[in-house]
Every structure is written in C-alpha cells, then in structure tokens.
Amino acid sequence: MEQTEKPRITATGLVRPVSNGPAPVSQSNNGFDASRVPVLSESLDDSELFRMYRLMLLIRRFEETCGQHYSLGNIRGFLHLYIGQEATGIGAITPLEARDYIVTHYRDHGHAIARGLDTNRIMAEMFGKNTGLSKGKGGSMHIFDAPQRFMGGHAIVGAQLPLAAGIALAQQYMETDVVTMVFFGDGATNQGTFHETLNLASVWQLPVIFFMENNLYGMGSAVGRVRHRGSDFSDAMGAYDVDVVSVDGMDVLAVREATQAAIDQVRAHGSPIFIEAKTFRFVGHSFADPGDQYRDRSEVDLWRRRDPLVTYPKRLLEYGVVTESDLDDLSASVDAEIEAAVEFAMNSPNPDMSEAFDDVYA
C-alpha cells in the first residue's frame, strides 16, 4: 500500500509561546523535559480556556461527590475515580468535534464530563436510576451516550481497543473525516488486544487516535514491574509505524495542543496516532483501595504538587484570563451543578422491574 507523506508530530513543536503576557513559569519537574515550558495557546480564546477549567473543576467535584455517596451507600459496585488525571481528559477531549467518536475504559466519568454529557444523567447512572444514561443498567464503569458519540465505558482492560478500530473502520468505509479516539491505561498495553489492534489499525490505516493515560500503575502494579521497558513507550510503536506523541498529562494545554495536532493529522491523512500522556491518579485504583500499599506517600505528594486544579487556574490568573472573583463564581456554579445532579439522581425512580427485560435485543 502506498503511503502518503504526512508530517511527524512532536509535542514540543506544538507548544507555541504567546506574544503577550509574562514569561510562563515552569512547573515542578517529575521527569519531564524542563525545557518544555507550559504556555498558553495562541489558538484558544479566553472563553475556551475558561471552559476547560470549568470542566476540569466539574470533574473534580463530581468525583469527590461520588466518593461521598459511595460511602453513604448510594453508589455501589466499583467506583474508579479520575481525580488527578483531569488535565489529560480535558486536554484530549475538548479539541474533538461533535461528530468524532470517543471510546474509553472503566475510569470513565471524567471523559463523560469532558465530553459535555449531561451531569444529571451521569450522576443518575452512578445511582443506578432509570434516568441514568444507561437507564441504571450500566453503572459507573459503563457510561454511554450514543447521540454524543460517547461509546462507553468498557470494563475489561484493553477490550475497548478493537471496538474503536471498528468504529474507525466504519468511518473509512463510509469515507467520512470523523476521528475515533480511544482511551486506555498503561495496564492495557500488556493485553493481546493492544498489539492486535495497533497492527490492524496500521495495516488498514484506520483514522484512530490511541490515547494512553499512563498513570504509572495498573491497579496496584507499577508499570516498571509488569512491563518490559516500563514507562518507555518511545519505541513501542515502531513495529507498527505509528507516530508517537508523548505529552505531560498534568498540563492541560500541552495535552490539548498535542491532541489537536493529532486530530488534524488523523482527519487529514486517516492514519493512526499514538499519544502517551503521563499522569497520576491521586486516589486509589477504586474506592476500595486506599492507594498507599504500593506507592510511597512521597510519590503521591510529588504529583499532587502538580495538581492541575491548582496549576491551571494559577496560570489563568497570571495571564489575566480570569480574576479571583471569576474563580469564586465558577466554584459556586460548579457546586450548584453537582448539587443539582445529586438531587436529580436522588429523586429519580429506580428502574421498574419489567425494565430488566428491555434492551436485550434491538
């Protein structure tokens, strides 16, 4: 098959300094290239920069609230919180267009919120109510909103990769310019489906973005303990001739810039791209995991110092995108939205028992 010429993407090459404003300050360095100074993008206007922060805060408060309601017994099953990874999800999903598809893993609430799905209906799903996005049949790990092209919430590690390839195959088949983005963690890279899907996507040149959220731990297993070459994915895609973009997953703008470029490339050329965002969950794997058995307190603290919910608003203030009073108003508005979502979920009915038999067949 003849390959069309396409530009190679590097994350650093995409981060452009803004012409006005003070020189940006580098965040603390957890093994990232300090020369990659986070800056605000020229291509994003203030309202978009602010919207991204709103979504980020919405995820954080949503997750904290879910934790509380898990403790109260209102949310059951497994609860995997996205706390700490918000910059990654927001930076990755906000540049997508409405016609693009998202497929994700079981730590999916953050992605659902980043996509702009109805907070009430996500919360109602957490509570198992029939007003939930999946009518209370999916739960935390299986959030779907097909009209928004949010195709789950998949709870078998790595299983969502072939599904995304198939959605991308359909786009190629129907000759659309729709991009499919599939999220997975570092743990999924050890599944057979990871190799199989990358090979398939490469052989068929499918328009798919493989977005790895490398939070350095597959449940309780540090990536270095379970993956040959640990966190070094730089050569892993060589076998598939897939471009690799590594990005600081704690820097929402770096993620957004890199992802936007990847989306543009996939839309134009239709071939797969692999993005690795290094990130960290501040909490345990699920609500049942205190998260301190397999990683040092100091490591968690180090990452917490790069909390995007602290660093990003600080940058927005420094650049004059927002004022303290804007942030206060935002906080109140986000709290009100979450409170309303909880109320909606609490007041929604449970599914009628007869609904157990609905939706089995089309």
Partner: protein, 325 residues
C-alpha cells in the same frame, strides 16, 4: 426448486446481501485472496473488491471486536471465524461487546453483526479444532444463534441473520458444506426460533440441530424397520429455542430423545430437556434421554474420535431405553 449444496446456499446468501446493501461487508481470515477455508467466499474479492471483502490478520479478538465497532457505527459486518473453536480467542469481544453492549448502554447501541463459524468434530483435528461452542454461545442473552441442517434453511436463516439488528452466531457444521438439497426459487426468509418438523412420526420425538438432524434421520430409518415411527424436530436455532414446537411434539408422542453433536455434559440439550420436562411431565411415558459426545477432549485417532462422537446407533439405543421404560 433448485438443488444446490449447503456451501452454495451460504455463498448465495452472502452475495445477495453484498449486492443489496452497501453497508454489508465481510471480513475474516483468508476469506479474500485464499477464498475461504471452506471456499464459501471463493471469487468474492475479485468480484466485490477489497473494501467489501476484507482479509484480516490472525487476530480474532481484534477483528471480531472491530466488527462490533463497525456495526455500532452503522455498518452490517459479516465476520467469519475459520472455526467456532477459535471463538475462544475472541470470547470477550463476542460476549461483552457484541452481546452485552446494547443492554449495558440502556438500549442506545445496536450491533447488526453476523459471526459465521464452521463447527463440529469428526475430521480428526484433535482437541483444539473440533469443538462446538454454539452450545456455550447460545446461552448468552443479547444475541441469536442459528444452526441450519440443510441448504434451504441455511439460505433462509442467513437472510434473517444479516437483516437482524442483533448479533447472530451462525454455526455451520463442517460436514454439511458438500451436502445437497432443494432451495425454493422465490425469495423467503426463515425467522429464528421456528423449529421445523423434519419427519412426522407418532411413537417418539427426536430433537437436534445442524448435522445432528442427519444422524437422527439415519436413526429414524433404522427404527422404522422395526416398526417404530419417530418424529424429528430440527431446531434450526439454539437461541431462541422453539419450545412450543418441541413441547407439542413430545405431548403427541410421549417420548423424546435429544441429540447433541457437542459434548453431552453441559450441551444445548441439557437445557432443553430440563425445560421440556417441566412443561410436559404429565404426558411423558419415560425419561427424556440425552445423547451426545462423550465427556472427554476430542482425540485425534480416528477410532477414538468415532467412539467419542454420537451416532445413529446411540440414538436408537437411547430410544429403546425410553420405549421400554
């Protein structure tokens, strides 16, 4: 009526669908340039091109899952597994993706996808290649399982399968590809869950599907020589199961023998016997007896394999147990 082979019936069903519906495409291992392991899609790639006929890598999980993805995005893939034995490698994609996706999304997603797979033992392929997992897969809610025994049913059921908005396991016993039968000239479809009375009789009911029906015919012929008049029910689909037809037949005859070409232990007939006896206990003149393959892995040696496989003599012996009860 025209007489064609089972293979030709499947080929015809696929060609019709490709020509009638732009969203139908076929993918699987060696279905294109090679022409298919059982030659069902021979010549397709030359005729319909690489877009509609996709050769896949040997990656069952990936291409079955990709089929689910393509179906959920609006296409109608017909995915071929070279053997139903290989469904094991793609089980997660079949069960959790193809079958569960609709339910766990609260009905938001539909998966109009057919998984065609040759099934069955008897050609000395050993333990890994001789299995009949339609019996496992037919238990999974959210998908259908069709298992034709003859060319006419194969064509009618395949038409239904490709038009269905749900995932369908289409199990084709490999012994049947060369078998011949009459196919109606006029267009017809056969719905799932409609069993067929293959032979009318009054003394006992014999139930099976796919190649098992041919074993039952041999057994019924043998019994007829002894004056026993057996009725044969061909289930045609294992999901859903046409209980009314089976129950009506057993109520009429008062006796039943049910045949699995898969292992007897945990086979499809275990479920059917259980359900039927609950419904017809008052009509029964004896136990409903199951016949199936013996409960060991499939051996290579011909003598051993033939000994493991159920045959017409086993069915007759079971029938005699019921009749003399």
């Amino acid at each position: 009526m025209t007489e064609i082979t089972f293979r030709e019936a499947i080929t015809r069903g696929l060609e019709e669908a490709i020509e009638a519906d732009e969203s139908v495409f076929i993918m699987g291992e060696d279905i294109g340039e090679y022409g298919g392991a059982y030659s069902v899609t021979k010549g397709f790639i030359e005729k319909y091109g690489e877009k509609r006929i996709k050769d896949t890598p040997i990656s069952e999980a990936a291409f079955v899952g990709a089929g689910v993805g393509a179906a959920s995005a609006g296409l109608r893939p017909v995915v071929e597994l070279m053997s139903i034995s290989f469904s094991l490698v793609a089980f997660d994609q079949i069960v959790n993706m193809a079958a569960n996706l609709r339910y766990m999304s609260g009905g938001q997603i539909k998966v109009p996808m057919v998984i065609r797979a040759p099934t069955g033992a008897g050609v000395q392929l050993g333990a890994t290649h001789s299995q009949s997992f339609e019996t496992w897969l037919s238990e999974v809610p959210g998908m259908y399982c069709a298992c034709p025994s003859n060319p006419a049913d194969a064509l009618g059921l395949l038409r239904t399968a490709i038009k269905s908005d749900n995932p369908v396991i289409f199990a084709e016993h490999s012994h049947l590809y060369g078998s011949r039968g009459d196919v109606p000239e006029d267009y017809y479809e056969i719905p799932f869950g409609e069993a067929r009375i293959d032979r009318v009789g009054s003394d006992l009911t014999l139930v099976s599907y796919g190649y098992g029906v041919h074993i039952l015919r041999e057994a019924a012929d043998a019994m007829a020589e002894d004056g026993i008049d057996a009725e044969i029910v061909d289930l045609r689909s294992l999901s859903p199961i046409d209980y009314p037809t089976v129950v009506a037949s057993v109520q009429k005859t008062g006796r039943a023998v049910m045949l699995d070409t898969a292992r007897r232990n945990g086979g499809a007939m275990a479920e059917i016997v259980s359900e039927v006896q609950e419904r017809v206990m008052d009509w029964l003149d004896g136990p409903i007896v199951r016949v199936g393959a013996k409960d060991v892995p499939w051996p290579y040696n011909r003598g051993l394999e033939q000994d493991i496989l159920p045959n017409a003599e086993d069915v007759v012996a079971a029938a005699m147990r019921v009749i003399t009860f």
